[in-house]
Symmetry: C2
Subunit: 323 residues, 2 copies
């Protein structure tokens, strides 16, 4: 296999078309989707492939499907509480599970993901594995543990995913990462995942980790993600750097990680070229290498395109953590 | 004056509309512009306001203006050398200077800015002050000198612009910054500006500065930029952090800077709220505060919108520094 360029790694995660690249193609492409809305809120919350719209058993009164405007609207009263919308969604998904309509619903997580209105108002939630059916934004945290070695320079703590993981088994992963469920805040999620996945104690995280930005991309799911292909997964990943002591050893805690290795930047870059990384973890590493001055405008010909693509402005409302 | 939010500061720099916010408004808005092209290259290189197209004296054979398709095309042969395109552009601009057609041309810089084709091929160049008439991408570098003070925490070297500067007199500015002319690379430009504007010796820069990313935004010029308003200035700013010793004093070198002060993060944040910063320098500071974990997802409600807006994917081809 030819070595992958860094831009190719980005393109594996950010592969939904851009209007500005070819507006006619984009508009034609958009006719493959229904927009997902809730009654009383003008914003589009996600895109649902037409093929998925056809397979759901939409319950009248609960849902309004307009195949001309290509919209699917959840019909709770405009001023309904989130719980009312949740019930309608749960009813729909439960029926799809019963009928075994969708592959992705076989990966039930029992974890709820939030959906927000403009201004960051919490609208409702949806079971994690059902979220790509509606193409809503999902939120997560990723963190990179690293060491400044006096002799060998910077080294990164790299995880190898367990061989038995449902998705991307045996691929390389960030030091720790995880999805944010309803109500969770990025920092709290990061501190939990650091402990659960990489045995990093909360006190170490609090002293040594810092938030360094957020990465966003618009992912069209392929076979490696499992389940139906072509589902949309616009993602927001809050990113943390953890500068660890050379004496600190990162070790697995739960069964999700096979092992950890402390790699030089050259070893990391070689493994990226060889396509060994889970796609969205490669994005996190590339951002790390850019922020730490290892990838530069002069040594990475696609520097500009990479930076814009991993900070994509998504076309849906997003969370606001209010002060 | 009400204190400015960080998002408001970003909006002052990134104020060209987004297709995804309101596609009908966007398309109506685009009818105010002609696209700028060169013969033989399919890409759009910039947007020219219709009011500017009307005022230029387009020379037949040199230029093709199509008011139905709303395109202005520079008609050198498709395989022409850049010098041929440059001559055509120079002829047009010289005539506009002679007739005093445009205010912006009174700020002649005698500095050439490059224009690239897709793939990063150098197409031609244009006098710096004329570039907003064509709405082409311009490139620059910005850097932030900072100190880790044991008692007071992080402090930033902030410049006050000279009272006599043509643009944004007396406003706050980054430690050093400057535009990249044809042929210049970011690192070389940064090292030059650090010496010229902040008396930072090349050896100090080489030891202590690192490239940390690139900021991009689409600026619609207002009165503060000088000259015609409504001209477009999509910008790309390569960003550097310079971690200085507490003993190092940053001092002005040329006449562009009034003085430097070493400010705490709180002092910097207060001055941002008070609107004291040149708009695109505020963007650089906000990115710095995010990368250094001072602005966080939890304390900045517009974290996501800010990060996407300052890494905007511009709709024109960009430079590639080839390895």
């Amino acid at each position: 296999m030819a070595p992958k360029t860094n831009l190719q790694l980005i393109q594996e995660c950010d592969n939904f078309p851009y209007y500005e690249d070819d507006s006619e193609f984009y508009e034609r492409h958009m006719s493959n989707y229904h927009t997902f809305k809730v009654n009383g809120c003008n914003a589009v919350l996600g895109y649902i492939p037409n093929s998925i719209v056809e397979k759901f058993h939409w319950i009248e009164n609960d849902w309004k499907v307009d195949s001309t405007a290509r919209t699917v609207t959840l019909m709770a009263a405009p001023d309904a509480e989130p719980a009312v919308r949740n019930e309608i969604m749960t009813r729909l998904i439960a029926e799809a599970v019963r009928r075994e309509t969708f592959e992705v619903l076989k990966g039930w997580r029992n974890e709820m993901y939030p959906i927000y209105a403009p201004g960051g108002k919490f609208l409702m939630e949806i079971e994690r594995c059902a979220s790509p059916l509606f193409g809503i934004i999902t939120y997560g945290v990723h963190m990179t543990g690293y060491v400044e070695d006096e002799k060998e320079g910077m080294k990164l703590w790299v995880a190898r995913r367990s061989k038995t993981k449902q998705t991307y088994p045996n691929m390389l992963d960030n030091t720790a990462a995880g999805g944010m469920s309803t109500g969770e805040h990025p920092y709290a999620c990061a501190i939990r995942e650091a402990a659960e996945e990489a045995s990093i104690p909360a006190a170490v995280f609090e002293e040594r980790a810092r938030p360094v930005g957020v990465l966003t991309y618009f992912y069209v799911r392929d076979a490696r993600a499992g389940g139906e292909t072509g589902l949309l997964q616009p993602e927001i990943e809050y990113v943390y750097d953890i500068k660890l002591d050379a004496s600190h050893t990162v070790k697995p805690c739960d069964s999700e990680v096979e092992d950890f290795r402390l790699w030089t930047v050259d070893e990391v870059r070689q493994s990226l070229k060889e396509g060994e990384w889970k796609p969205n973890c490669a994005v996190v590493i590339l951002d790390f290498l850019i922020r730490h001055g290892i990838l530069t405008p002069e040594n990475e010909p696609d520097y500009l395109e990479i930076m814009a693509r991993i900070h994509r402005r998504l076309p849906f409302p997003t969370v606001k953590f209010l002060k």
